[in-house]
């Protein structure tokens, strides 16, 4: 399978502190790659570096062979246009309605007419189950609905890669399941490559094709593979402890 994202020897800092060092991993086309780890281990910092918000201290991130942080500003913008990002709280622009939120990327980067944009907006909102909510403002929605609306905006331009930052955080189990199902649909129906940052085990096992576990103590990735394989085969007590919520072998170590 074609590799879409290659991360090589990446070192990350948060302020002055080294968060993660020597990260190496690949994300393949059409797969759901999960970046997992405990709170504060650097998952979100890694995500921000991957989506172009925080430069790395060292190392490379290659998108289809192009080294993101070595390119000039214009080339980076071009690469970023192939991303869709769902932020932890949805990050909807609060002064715009849902319809306007989803329409904005289309107004910027497509040559569609206003009427065509309206149709696409309704389609995207419909895909996430918010077809009738185009005229609502973010403040009028529940947390789960805001996340789904954020997802509709993230997929507005049919991106090649969609990043999810803690998609299940703060959601009730049913809303979290609905979002997991949406992630699977995006992979299966749209063929999108998906990177999910999460520590929710239910989501990890439901959606993850491949995964990487970050460890805050060693500041490295301590395991990589399909989540179910890691659970079945890993002998590293830290991995078993994380994937069983500390209930199985290795929990006391």
């Amino acid at each position: 399978m074609e590799t879409v994202i290659e991360v090589k020897n990446l070192d990350l800092v948060y302020g002055d502190f080294l968060v993660m060092r020597g990260l190496n991993f690949n994300v393949k086309k059409g797969e759901i790659f999960v970046i997992m780890g405990g709170s504060g281990c650097g998952k979100s910092t890694l995500l921000k570096t991957m989506i172009g918000l925080n430069p790395p201290q060292k190392g490379k991130i290659l998108y289809s062979g192009l080294s993101f942080w070595d390119e000039d500003e214009q080339a980076r913008q071009d690469i970023m246009r192939r991303f869709g990002v769902l932020y932890q709280g949805g990050a909807l622009w609060s002064s715009l309605t849902l319809g306007e939120n989803v329409a904005l990327p289309l107004q910027l980067y497509s040559s569609l007419s206003a009427l065509q944009i309206q149709d696409v907006v309704l389609l995207k909102l419909g895909l996430v189950g918010l077809g009738g909510y185009a005229d609502f403002y973010p403040a009028e929605l529940s947390g789960g609905m805001r996340k789904r609306a954020g997802l509709a905006r993230a997929i507005a331009l049919d991106p090649d890669v969609i990043f999810f930052d803690e998609p299940s955080a703060g959601l009730d189990p049913l809303s979290a399941k609905m979002l997991d199902d949406l992630i699977l649909e995006l992979r299966d129906d749209l063929g999108a490559t998906i990177v999910v940052v999460t520590h929710e085990l239910a989501s990890i096992f439901t959606v993850g094709d491949d995964a990487m576990l970050l460890d805050a103590d060693t500041k490295t990735a301590i395991a990589q593979g399909a989540p179910k394989d890691l659970l079945a085969n890993s002998k590293d007590p830290r991995v078993v402890k994380f994937l069983t919520r500390g209930e199985k072998q290795g929990a006391g170590k």
Binding site: F17, K48, I51, G52, L53, Q77, M80, R81, F83, V85, Y87, Q88, G89, A91, L92, W93, S94, S95, L96, L104, P105, L108, Y109, R153
Partner: protein, 375 residues
């Protein structure tokens, strides 16, 4: 004082057994370990401490705190400490002893040596300067794209900001300007009355309002009202990752968020200044003609004669400069806001403080320059 009861027994003269009954809860007061300490002091050769609880024994975290103390005393005296006679949950809670938790020292509490702290401050000033220059550069580039017709921003948002900066501020500007005009008239009247030259109140009020007071009062009001609002809006957008979402979409926040705000305020501030001038003159007129008994026509004619066009231009230039200062301070502080509720509060406060300080400095510079060029 605890209402729990504590009695003692000695097993084989070596084990001090504590017999507990009654209420050992927070609501009854924290139990003291002094009684136990006295028993240990008065009986040499104690090698262990144990417990027996009666049926009516009630406990909560107050009792756990009592046990922490006893355990610590036992450890110091090399006495065996066992809680076997107590409810099993107590043993679990004892494992959470604060003494067992490894103390983590926050990075920020480490005190820097004197020279390091000076160095850090110098680096901080350099970084802030670079950050302000970079921010101003982004705004200039955004305006360049706006002039070339390439800037991406929502016209509805711009009009809404114009409305908030302009029409919505009229009430407050009217009230304050009228009052300032009235105050100037009263102060002028006290002095001019001594010379029988009360009619010159019109000159004082007119020149003071148009030349400086109108612009300054409007600027101070707008920095508290609109500058703070810009900082809070952008700060909340920062905290909600809305600005990150714009950046990943390839939209420049300077173009989409900051440029419309600066433009709106730069347009509205000179207009509000003219309005404040008129309101201030009206305030002076009301006091002079209504209270001090001056002739309205004479007052009006004196005002027209006294207020020169260059005074008006000077006021408008100040309004324009203050508009830039308020908008840039508000937007800069908002964009630099930390992602927390405290950060938003600090951003709002520092936006107002920065704007007012910069307004006073700018007024001093403009006044000095005007003095030199004779305006």
């Amino acid at each position: 004082m605890s209402s729990g009861k504590l009695t003692f027994d000695y097993l084989e003269s070596k084990i001090l057994q504590l017999k507990l009954s009654g209420d050992w809860q927070l609501s009854a007061g924290l139990p003291s370990a002094d009684e136990v300490l006295a028993q240990l002091d008065s009986h040499a050769g104690i090698t262990g401490v144990s417990f027996v609880a009666s049926q009516d024994f009630k406990w909560d975290s107050a009792f756990i705190s009592f046990l922490f103390k006893l355990r610590s005393i036992s450890k110091e005296r090399n006495i065996r400490f066992t809680v076997l006679g107590l409810p099993p949950q107590i043993e679990k809670l004892l494992k959470l002893s604060p003494a067992q938790a490894e103390k983590i020292i926050p990075h920020k509490t480490v005190e820097e040596p004197f020279l390091d702290s000076i160095g850090s401050r110098v680096i901080g000033v350099k970084n802030t300067t670079l950050s302000v220059l970079s921010f101003l550069g982004d705004i200039v580039l955004a305006f360049k794209r706006f002039i070339c017709g390439k800037a991406f921003f929502r016209k509805d948002d711009f009009l809404s900001i114009v409305q908030r900066c302009g029409a919505d501020a009229l009430g407050l500007v009217s009230l304050i300007s009228i009052l300032v005009g009235m105050i100037l008239a009263f102060i002028g009247a006290i002095q001019l009355k001594m010379f029988g030259a009360q009619i010159y109140i019109a000159d004082i009020v007119g020149i003071a309002m148009v030349r400086v007071m109108g612009a300054i009062m409007t600027a101070i009001l707008m920095s508290g009202r609109t500058g703070a609002s810009f900082a809070a809006e952008l700060g909340i957008m920062q905290a909600n990752e809305e600005i990150d979402a714009l950046k990943t979409l390839g939209v420049s926040p300077a173009e989409f968020l900051i440029m419309p705000r600066v433009l709106a305020l730069v347009i509205m501030m000179p207009l509000l200044t003219i309005y404040a001038n008129l309101m201030g003159i009206a305030g002076g007129f009301i006091i002079s003609t209504g209270v001090l008994g001056l002739n309205p026509v004479e007052y009006f004619n004196h005002t027209i004669t006294a207020v020169k066009l260059n005074n008006l231009w000077l006021g408008l230039i100040q309004g324009f400069v203050f508009g830039i200062i308020i908008a840039v301070s508000g937007c800069y502080r908002g964009m630099q806001c930390e992602r927390s509720s405290t950060g938003i509060g600090e951003a709002t406060t520092s936006a107002v403080v920065t704007a007012i300080t910069a307004i006073v400095i700018a007024t001093a510079i403009i006044t000095f320059v005007c003095q030199i060029i004779g305006v």
